[in-house]
């Protein structure tokens, strides 16, 4: 603060008027260049273009300067400019002929002129919006919601579709975990996002199964500059749960060889909720000191990439590991019990029950630049370990505790092998043809004193071809076709303890066998076609229209096909159905964008018809398993899903900008009988986000790009619920903050200080795992994020 006051007085003392230069950077095909270096000589003021290609340099005194705009793989642009007022400059960079520089950058640009609207998230966005997890940070995008459990586990919901209906990938390799589970979170280091592309809407051609709702691809594929060695150090602190996070990054490159490495650590305590008690199943469960017991956790991540740039190829090998351990609120596991939520004297210990996830990955990405096109070969191995530890407990008097690891309730180990290749033909005029194949083999083992997920293995082969046909400058057509052949094999599991328990309590052998057969052996083959027809139309520079129609699918999961028993998290007896088909969705979506100086508006409506949406439905039969209530069966139903996203960004004056987003989703089962047209579970309510930002401290030395912002996030109540899902009230929460670039301790250090839920409002997130047990969302959080390059 003292520093701030001093700098203000210095600037005032100088009293000279300063100006701002704003502008944009595009290439010769008008594709936006993100990350271009913009430098003004001789004052050496500089910045980097943002993800829209825009830049802003302030603190310029009147005078004549040399402007230099450079971007890897492009000719550097040098121009003389005269500043006498606030000015704009639009830079257009020409591609350099193919050589090492181009190899380094090729394929890193994300094409925004496709028929499907995509959003690109940069490190800068992550810096500004980092909120616990990578997925949670994306919530300000319309159409993206986060399904959370606790403070550091979340997974994405796009257009009301979650679990296995969204694909998350890194460098094009689909990430596999236990994403069918409500309490699973994605294992991704929130610090380690170079750019991420978010596509809302089905993307079956690129990914095959599961990409019905959309996909999120993290592109950690940037190549450091030649003969460079640099790094960053980041620090994160959060008040709501005492998070301390740190991340260190190093990168370096000689001529052909480069490396990138990162280590991150996060440690956090029990988080605060603005309530003293939770009322669940008619019981009052106290929340001592408004801190939710046993929600503490920690995360350790490591990442190493080695890359080589050949004359006509580029290849990289990436090793990464994400380790997460976090507690579950003990009041949410089982019949609520007041004794288990007593304060244990520490807010940072991780007691039972808790979960542990470790995701290891080896990726190999290669691009070969041939005379007629580019060949991309991606190989990967992933090992996902997920455990839940809970003090040994059983409902069956005859079950002894295991001798080894007596408190290990679940242990799932999923290995995934991926081999993909595609060829992108570049030699054809006006056509961009791509074809290729994808292979995925998965094998999952299961252990622990409880049983939930059957052991299984699956194999999928996808063949695809697509074409982008540029009819004119204004109009591009897209067409794609894909066929996936898959096989899923699950192992049977018979529980003799459960069988004996039921027999001794007088049940018939048939009925006891039904309950004791916790999973059945099945071996099923699936064959699915995905297709897409799309168009991209840009009649002039102000308007863009997109339209798509297509079909996407997802293969049923092992749990949907073969499980039988109480899910410990939902406390429901869930029964799989081996006769389920692949879930098939037919969709139409559109997007219209309007851009003029200072105003951008986008509107994206969509409609899906599912011939068979797979989800859990109550059966109307009691389960004989203790605590279970009625049996829920995985079943398929015709369904429709539609919605709309709206976004607007307006420049209110030279210092102030406003952002607005809104999302609405509507869905229901399709049935002849109106009494059966139930809404689908986990549907986000009408929700939106508004932010106003205001640039301050212009002309202050040592500070640049400083802005303050206030925002609000709101949601209406959600009363359109599936059976046995809770209605959720609406809310409005407020946030505010300050972000700036500092010249201390090194040039371009970044600082973001911000508050979430400033009024400490008690509200519920309809999508949260803890919603069903009446636990509100986190209370007020003040956080600081500081990033120093070196």
């Amino acid at each position: 603060m003292l520093l701030l006051c001093m700098s203000i007085s210095i600037a005032n003392a100088l009293g000279q008027k300063s100006y701002t230069l704003t502008g944009s950077v595009v290439d010769d095909k008008n594709i936006v260049l993100t990350g271009a270096a913009v430098v003004i000589h001789p004052v050496e003021a500089g910045t980097v273009s943002d993800y829209n290609g825009n830049f802003e340099i302030d603190n310029l005194l009147a005078g004549t300067y040399t402007l230099e705009v450079s971007f890897i793989g492009h000719h550097t642009l040098t121009d003389t400019i005269t500043i006498s007022k606030n000015s704009t400059y639009h830079a257009r960079l020409k591609c350099t002929p193919r050589h090492l520089k181009e190899i380094a950058i090729k394929g890193n640009r994300i094409d925004t002129s496709k028929s499907r609207k995509n959003e690109v998230v940069s490190t800068e966005f992550m810096m500004q919006n980092l909120n616990g997890t990578f997925i949670k940070s994306l919530e300000r995008l319309p159409g993206v919601n986060s399904m959370d459990i606790g403070a550091n586990a979340s997974k994405p919901v796009i257009r009301g579709m979650g679990f296995n209906r969204v694909v998350v990938s890194e460098n094009g390799i689909k990430q596999e975990g236990q994403q069918w589970g409500a309490d699973h979170g994605l294992e991704i280091d929130p610090f380690n996002i170079e750019t991420a592309e978010i596509v809302k809407g089905a993307s079956g051609i690129e990914y095959g199964s599961d990409a019905i709702g959309g996909y999120i691809n993290i592109n950690n594929d940037l190549v450091p500059e030649e003969h460079s060695f640099s790094g960053t150090a980041s620090l994160l602190g959060k008040s709501v749960n005492g998070t301390i996070g740190a991340s260190a990054y190093l990168q370096g490159r000689g001529e052909n060889n480069y490396f990138k490495g990162r280590i991150s650590a996060l440690d956090f305590g029990d988080y605060r909720v603005p309530t003293d008690e939770i009322v669940y199943l008619n019981r009052r469960i106290p929340v001592y000191n408004q801190r939710l017991k046993n929600t503490a956790g920690k995360e350790y991540d490591a990442y190493l990439q080695y890359g080589y740039l050949g004359k006509t190829y580029k290849t990289s090998l990436t090793l990464s590991n994400v380790y997460q351990k976090s507690g579950f609120f003990p009041g949410a596991h089982g019949v609520p019990d007041i004794d288990r939520v007593q304060h244990d004297g520490s807010y940072r210990n991780i007691d039972y029950p808790h979960q542990l996830a470790n995701h290891s990955k080896v990726l190999s990405n290669s691009k070969f630049f041939l005379s007629s096109g580019v060949l991309l070969v991606d190989l990967a191995y992933q090992y996902n370990l997920r455990q839940e530890h809970s003090l040994f407990h059983t409902h069956y008097a005859n079950q002894p505790a295991p001798e080894k690891d007596p408190n290990l309730e679940f242990d799932f180990r999923l290995s995934t092998y991926i081999a993909n290749a595609k060829y992108r033909v570049t030699a054809l005029n006006n056509h961009k043809v791509e074809f290729g194949f994808q292979n995925q083999y998965r094998t999952n083992t299961s252990a622990g004193y409880n049983f939930l997920l059957p052991e299984y293995n699956s194999y999928a082969l996808g063949l695809f071809v697509k074409d982008e046909y540029q009819l004119s400058d204004k109009l591009t057509f897209e067409a794609g076709l894909r066929y996936d052949a898959s096989n899923l094999h699950t192992e049977a599991y018979f529980d003799p303890i459960l069988y004996d328990y039921f027999i001794s309590s007088g049940m018939s052998t048939d009925e006891a066998t039904f309950y004791a057969q916790r999973s059945s052996q099945i071996n099923k083959n699936y064959g699915d076609i995905s297709w897409l027809l799309g168009l991209f139309y840009q009649p002039n520079k102000n308007w863009i229209a997109r339209f798509n129609i297509g079909k996407a699918f997802r293969m049923p999961t092992a749990i949907e096909l073969a499980s039988n028993g109480v899910h410990h998290g939902s406390f429901r007896h869930e029964l799989g159905d081996p006769d389920l088909d692949s879930e098939r969705g037919y969709y139409v979506d559109a997007n219209a964008e309007f851009n003029i100086e200072g105003l951008a508006i986008g509107l994206s409506p969509y409609f899906y018809y599912f011939s068979n949406y797979l989800f859990l439905q109550p059966s109307g039969e009691w389960s004989q398993l203790p605590h279970a209530g009625q049996i829920y069966k995985y079943s398929q139903s015709e369904a429709i899903l539609m919605g709309i996203e709206f976004m607007a960004r307006k420049k209110l004056n030279s210092r102030m900008n406003a952002d607005f987003t809104l999302e609405y989703v509507y869905n229901r089962q399709v049935s002849e009988e109106s009494s059966q047209r139930y809404p689908l579970p986990f549907t986000p309510p009408l929700n939106g986000f508004v932010e106003l930002d205001y640039s301050i401290f212009k002309g202050l030395s040592g500070l640049s790009n400083t802005k303050v912002f206030v925002n609000t996030r709101f949601a209406s109540s959600q009363n359109r619920v599936a059976r046995n899902e809770e209605s959720t009230d609406g809310y409005i929460i407020f946030g505010a903050g300050l972000s700036t670039k500092l010249s201390w301790p090194s040039q371009n250090s970044e600082l973001v200080l911000q508050g979430f839920n400033l009024l400490n409002k008690r509200f519920y997130n309809h999508m949260s795992f803890y919603r069903q047990v009446e636990i509100p969302e986190q209370g007020r959080n003040i956080q600081i994020m500081f990033k120093v390059p070196f």
Binding site: R283, V335, R668, P679
Partner: protein, 151 residues
């Protein structure tokens, strides 16, 4: 302006797709017996159960379940927790259909606490679902003490 109008029209369209015919309201359960001040038993005691169920459309079925809750802390290995060899953890359940109406009662008379029931805290759970499958559950604690033990 044009966009705002389109947006307004679309929102109206979606909102007007009403589905008032579906029933997602859960039934309610009120445990009448054992009364709140009479949930303390000795081995071999008998007691009556009675509950009142209500629903906005029509009730369907109920279930009553009693199981051991250990010393109130967690469900530990039952084999080891019984204090004496001949003690058993009392587990019992009842279920039955309800009249498909907005209100009904269920009663079980003469529930017998087994003479060898493991002393401690038990959960008595009452479940109910309606014709649409909407389900409610309520749990109460009941205490079982050893025969002859005074409190």
């Amino acid at each position: 302006m044009k966009n705002t109008l389109i947006l307004a029209a679309l929102v109206l369209f979606f909102v007007s797709c009403n589905d008032d015919d579906v029933d997602t309201t859960k039934p309610t359960i009120e445990i009448i017996k054992p009364a709140e001040d009479a949930r303390h038993f000795h081995q071999g005691d008998t007691f009556d159960f009675e509950a009142l169920f209500t629903d906005n459309v029509a009730l369907k079925s109920y279930m009553v379940e009693i199981h051991y809750n250990g010393d109130g802390h967690d469900h530990t290995a039952a084999v080891k927790s019984t204090t004496e060899d001949d003690h058993v953890e009392w587990e019992q359940s009842w279920s039955g259909d309800l009249t498909e109406a907005k209100e009904d009662r269920a009663a079980i008379s003469g529930i017998e606490v087994p003479a060898n029931a493991e002393p401690g805290e038990y959960h008595l759970g009452v479940y109910c679902f309606d014709t649409a499958g909407n389900e409610s559950q309520v749990f109460i604690d009941i205490e079982v003490e050893e025969e002859g033990h005074e409190h």
